[in-house]
């Protein structure tokens, strides 16, 4: 092939990539545009691309239009996601240390046990958890969700951190130990600098999964501890009149995840593939 033909082919494939990117993004762009339309403009066929923009959808969503306020749900989601992420890190870090830097015997078996719990469907334990919560007055309590989200994300976190900590060269640790450094110093000076980006990625993914979770939240919370996804389920049967509000709500609730995900695209890949893809 001549250079010009190669260049032309490259240009063509670039255009195809752009086209597919736009097709995949179109629903989100349309949702964003609709969220700034008035309800009457939102519910038209053919769609009105050039309709006047308004913040009414957002005003409605945030409750100034008379609906229920989303703030309690947003706060609950924030608490549940942040607290469970913190607990996951506290439990997963020592575990990953014991599985990578000074591995226990049969450490691969332990690692597989963690992953296997992820394959146990959530529904298989939902009823006993519900009955337990009901009998101990833990229903509609955000801390129950925190415990469950911790268990939901812990296996993934252990896998990820195991692979991130395994990147710390043992020789360097040994050298530091020979030089008389104690464990806390080794952790802070040698392990942390290498492992911190991985730990951040782990935290990010745990946060995203907790923020997104619906089934536990739907079954185990009610009025007080309702999370943002549960709040969204209130729109499932809503009719056309609330389209702009539905779009505004979906966008606002997705915003933390979108922002975090865009900011850490590369780390996200490595994390989501349990650290196996570098």
């Amino acid at each position: 092939m001549s250079t010009i033909a190669v260049k032309r082919k490259g240009l063509g494939l670039g255009l195809v990539a752009w086209l597919l990117g736009i097709v995949f993004f179109l629903p989100i762009a349309w949702m964003a545009l609709t969220s700034f339309h008035s309800e009457t403009d939102a519910a038209t066929n053919p769609p009105s691309f050039g309709a006047a923009l308004t913040l009414d959808g957002y005003r409605e969503f945030f409750g100034t239009g008379g609906g229920a306020s989303p703030w309690p749900a947003l706060i609950n989601s924030t608490v549940a996601s942040l607290a469970s992420t913190l607990f996951v890190l506290l439990l997963a870090l020592p575990a990953a240390y014991a599985l990578s830097i000074r591995p226990v015997r049969k450490w691969t078996d332990v690692l597989f046990f963690f992953l296997s719990t992820k394959m146990l469907p959530v529904v298989a334990g939902l009823l006993p958890i519900y009955l337990f919560a009901k009998n101990t007055d833990m229903l509609d309590n955000i801390w129950l969700l925190v415990i469950l989200y911790t268990s939901m994300n812990l296996p993934i976190a252990v896998w990820m951190m195991q692979s991130f900590l395994a990147e710390v060269p043992v020789a360097v640790i040994e050298a530091a130990r020979v030089d008389g450094a104690r464990l806390p110093t080794i952790l802070a000076r040698v392990v942390a600098p290498i492992a911190l980006p991985g730990i951040a990625a782990t935290a990010l993914i745990c946060f995203i999964f907790s923020w997104n979770e619906l089934l536990f939240a739907r079954v185990l919370t009610g009025v007080v501890a309702e999370t943002a996804p549960v709040f969204l389920t209130g729109f499932i049967t809503s009719q056309g009149l609330f389209l702009a509000k539905v779009c505004a709500a979906s966008l606002v609730i997705s915003l933390p995840v979108l922002a975090a995900g865009f900011a850490a695209q590369d780390k996200l890949v490595q994390g989501l593939s349990l650290g196996a893809v570098k």
């Binding site: 752009w18 066929n45 053919p46 146990l120 995203i208």
Partner: protein, 312 residues
Amino acid sequence: MTATTVAPPATQTVRTADPSKARLRAWATRAPLLPALIFMIVVTQLPFVATVVISFFDWNSLYPKARHFTGVDNYKDVLTDADLRHSVWTTVLLTVTVVLVSLVLGLLLALLLDRRFKGRGVVRTLLIAPFLVVPVAAALLWKHVLYNPEYGLLNGLLHYVGGPQPDWISNTPLLAVEASLVWQWTPFMMLILLAGLQSRDQQQMEAARVDGASDWQIFRYLTLPHLRRYLELGALLGSIYIVQNFDAVFTITSGGLGTANLPYTVYQSFYQAHENGLASAAGVLVVIGSIIIATFALRVVSSLFREEVGRA
């Protein structure tokens, strides 16, 4: 948790012949692992054991006094229940379709994005977005904003070309759920496969090109074998999440029109029908099915994993 009381890991590495000290050292190595391990067993394994126990009882939560042991009756009921058998089939169909289609689409997109072109970073960001929308929000977007027969975007666009105006969710309910999930999961597959593509041996590719290999030959004999483990990883992780999908089924069809998968069916039988025993039996059957898939899946991961360890 009681596990917080365990001793911190010992820093001493002095070798000793004393067996009691050796045992102590072994425990010190294990200690950091215990909190996580005990937590997982208590929060995930114990409830499952309880589910197994409940599955042998006839127990409707509206009539708690009538609760009694029935042996395997619940299992018989579940296995002879046409709805439940249908939801098993739905789960299989939904998972296999979504995983395969999003893998193929993801591969296509990854191959495109692996080349240099203007604005590649922007396109990549646009493509990741669907995976980052909260699943319920994504399902609402498809249900109301795209599929709605009167003012949805799909029919709006069809209107311009004078096409038909179908009622997507009523006409093809399972396909509607699958399409929304494919949209969400294709970016995930793309990300993993793109990482795979970028870890190819460039020298080997260059050598093949110099030897006159065509693009297709390079793809077929170099890229595809190299991508195999990445394809397996994507399929495995995708399956773990899609088999358990609840959000899309719950939001788009509420399990109606033959789209109820197993997670939705179990949810419904205890949350709405209050049949604790039946729901538990169904849950146990879901687990047995998952174990069969998981044994196979874990073998795949462990092969991936061995390569990983071997490289180190």
